[in-house]
């Protein structure tokens, strides 16, 4: 249960980061913020699915499904870091 509480905290932090970055993108139109926001959305989803996974039936694992949003999120972040971080 401590683990669940921790993953809730991680999910909430990720959501906060995503919200702040999208707000920043709306104001400044700096594309790096757009891609970064999606990273944190993916991490949030990863943490949320992790919490759900433990509660589901043991013979159905979400393992790949919960990792995929994280991969996509961080991939989008790296895309943004590579192409949108120069002035």
């Amino acid at each position: 249960m401590l683990a669940n509480a921790i993953y809730v905290l991680c999910a909430l932090t990720s959501i906060l980061c995503a919200v702040l970055l999208i707000r920043g993108y709306r104001e400044s139109r700096v594309r790096l913020l757009f891609w970064s926001a999606w990273c944190f959305a993916g991490l949030a989803l990863n943490n949320i699915l992790l919490i759900l996974d433990v509660r589901l039936l043991p013979d159905f694992s979400l393992e790949i499904w919960r990792t995929v949003p994280a991969v996509i999120g961080v991939a989008l972040l790296v895309y943004g870091l590579v192409w949108e971080s120069a002035r």
Partner: protein
């Protein structure tokens, strides 16, 4: 398959951390140093998870590392707002 996906995620986390490290070198804004550290901790956590072939991250080591990474992000945000 999950090992491949995990490996990709480890590498991406490492690269993201590397970029944040570069940003810290360029701007001296310690938010970037903290984000770099956080992403590298996430990379290590993912690597250990895959290496030990664990499925559920309910072992203390894994969730402690993840907690550490996100606490560092929270600290970075708090620090940014205090200055």
């Amino acid at each position: 398959m999950i090992d491949v996906v995990s490996g990709v995620l480890v590498a991406l986390d490492l690269v993201a951390g590397l970029f944040f490290l570069k940003f810290w070198a360029a701007s001296r804004d310690r938010l970037f140093a903290m984000f770099a550290t956080a992403f590298w901790i996430l990379a290590v956590q993912r690597l250990l998870l895959a290496a030990t072939r664990s499925v559920f991250e309910d072992q203390a080591l894994f969730y402690t590392l993840r907690l550490l990474a996100f606490v560092i992000i929270i600290v970075a945000i708090v620090d940014k707002n205090r200055r």
